[in-house]
């Protein structure tokens, strides 16, 4: 494994480390890049290029992109009759709605039990009622009741968690549909210069802050609890604070290293932060732990493609189809896989 500290430094300060291109001299043109792509540089050209890319972040990323294709280029030979168009992509946080609903009930029950046993003064009825109100979309009502309970001195983890959830729900309920451009969030490696427009919903910042603060407080009040970090990470993911979500889910992974859901969730946060290589690794870990869950395969395939690992992506698409041969995405995945396979030697 790489040195985590050095990795952190390198990622966070990539731009600053590399410095502007002017410091590194004139950037190479397509003639030079073509030579690199063909692996046909002379020793002197190679030295000059290495010297340049060691100082110019933009060119280094381009060089990385080119040399990363040395293997996959062969996979893209003859194209199909009709060029492939956009595949409908979906990142799935948790496997299936049914499974999740069941899991939610269990988690809620466990949470209630945990809450009532941890804080004797907790009123189980209050918690149950608040949970029902949240489920019914009555976030403000639930929030008022939970705030009242906290004012009365009941600041248990369960109450804080539920209040954070209610605040989050309220913030999102006030949101209006809109669009925002996602650019350069965090460190992203070779695909950094790609930008995406994602459908987003602006929410009142103040409410969001309060919700996240409450969930953060709840998680920190009981650090060994995976649920707290999971809840916080999920909210951060919704809030698109991907770097923080990576950390929160990282804590969840530390507590439950054998949880496929934890690895999958961390993969989502990493994907959001555009750390596609790391995201692919996290999804693959989830897939290794729970190989029967198709969502992990789907996520791994998408992340692998983003990371330029076409062959690995193909493997995951195939596994996805095996697990879900007649699901809603199956047809599109089959078509996409055919496109990829047609170009593979």
């Amino acid at each position: 494994m790489d040195d985590e500290f050095v990795e952190f430094v390198a990622r966070r300060f990539d731009g600053a480390i590399a410095g502007p291109a002017s410091r590194a001299g004139e950037c190479p043109d397509e003639n030079m890049w073509a030579l690199l792509a063909d692996d046909a540089l002379s020793p002197s050209e190679r030295r000059a290029l290495i010297e340049h890319i060691s100082r110019c972040a933009t060119c280094r990323r381009l060089a990385s992109e080119i040399i990363s294709e040395w293997q996959v280029a062969q996979a893209e030979t003859d194209g199909p009759e009709k060029p492939a168009v956009a595949i409908y992509r979906r990142i799935v946080l948790f496997p299936r709605a049914g499974i999740y609903a069941a899991a939610a009930v269990v988690l809620l029950a466990v949470g209630l039990y945990f809450a009532s046993s941890l804080a004797g003064r907790n009123d189980a009825t209050l918690l149950a009622r608040a949970a029902q109100q949240i489920a019914a979309g009555q976030y403000e009502v639930a929030e008022r009741e939970l705030a009242g309970a906290m004012q009365r001195g009941d600041a248990s983890v369960a109450v804080m968690q539920l209040r954070g959830r209610a605040l989050m729900g309220a913030a999102l309920a006030m949101a209006t549909p809109g669009k925002a451009k996602l650019t350069s969030l965090g460190s992203v490696g070779i695909l950094q210069r790609r930008t995406k427009e994602l459908p987003t919903i602006p929410v009142p910042e103040e409410k969001l802050e309060r919700a996240l603060a409450m969930l953060q407080k709840a998680a920190e009040a009981n650090p060994p609890s995976a649920a707290g970090w999971r809840e916080l990470g999920a909210a951060l993911l919704v809030a698109r604070r991907f770097d923080e979500a990576v950390e929160a889910f990282g804590r969840w992974v530390q507590i439950e290293p054998s949880s496929a859901q934890a690895h999958n969730a961390r993969g989502l946060a990493l994907y959001g932060a555009e750390c596609h290589v790391e995201a692919a690794a996290a999804f693959q870990r989830a897939s290794a732990i729970a190989s029967e869950v198709s969502a992990h395969e789907l996520n791994a395939a998408i992340a692998c493609e983003e990371a330029g690992k076409v062959h690995e992506a193909q493997r995951h698409w195939q596994r996805f189809l095996k697990l879900e041969p007649s699901g809603p995405d199956a047809e599109e995945v089959r078509r996409w896989l055919a496109v990829l396979q047609k170009g593979t030697p």
Binding site: F5, P43, E51, I66, Q71, P83, A84, L93, G169, R194
Partner: protein
Amino acid sequence: MEASDRTACDELVCGYLSRLLGTPVTADHPHFAAASSRLDEVLAYHRRQFAEAGRGAETRWVLQQLRTGRLPYKTHPDCDLLEDVFLALLMEVGENAAFEAFQRRFARSVEQWARRYAWGDPSWGDALLGSLFEQRARSGSRISRYAGWGPLDSWVAQVARKLAPGARARPRVNLIQPDDAAGGLDGLGGRPVAHSSSDAAETEFDRWNCRELLAPAFRGCFDVLDAEQRVVLLQSIVDGVEQRQIARQLGVPAYQVTRTKQRAIARVRRRFHELAAELVDGGQETVRTCLELLRERFSDVPLDLKVIARGENTRNSAPCDGP
């Protein structure tokens, strides 16, 4: 260039132009002078390359190598580099015959590039071709920049790559579908939301302005590395490139990349320790807090605890521009 070589070159130019234009071409053809001059440039470059590789640099021999795609560091079977050079030149001057020849030759490649870089969008292929021939006020057409260092295919592929970022943006990627997330986030209604504030995540590290405070230390860490060490470290860690690919790029064996990387990591850690101590000695109170935060996050931060212990913990006092 000797007179006999000059004659050979001129004959070669006439031969290629005749073939590409479909009509006999002599030395008084309007494009002859430009073609002859272009050939000289290409020849000069490749003679230097052959000489550097310790091989012959005699004009006729080099021309023969170029005609058969045998470049000093790479052989391109079925490639006639001189044909590529003259084809590009004729397109540059707007010869329709050359343009048609180019389209015939690159139709499939453009499709592949569109698939690779623009998810198969056929209109992107047209945009690529248009950008090659579009005349710009100052720099002329893009095709005029092809220098004949390698096959035209490789050069156009790099142009395609350069034009890709806009087109390459993947189809709408909904990170979390509302339906999935509604369940996934315990009924929170997991719709991605936009921030009115900066995109950068406001971690505690950021709130304390640590990024800026520690920037000199982090920059300094990497300043001690030589070019190869920097490239190995950044390409492997930040860009996620495999070590054997980096090795091939550097022209060294893979095990050497591993060693270089290990050495680079050791140097960065050692240098960080020195610079961090200097920063603390410099008297910036919040620096200690930032270093503490780093230590909290990474148990293996190369920092002597005594460095932090020199002053009081500033963690509980808010920084001037802090939260």
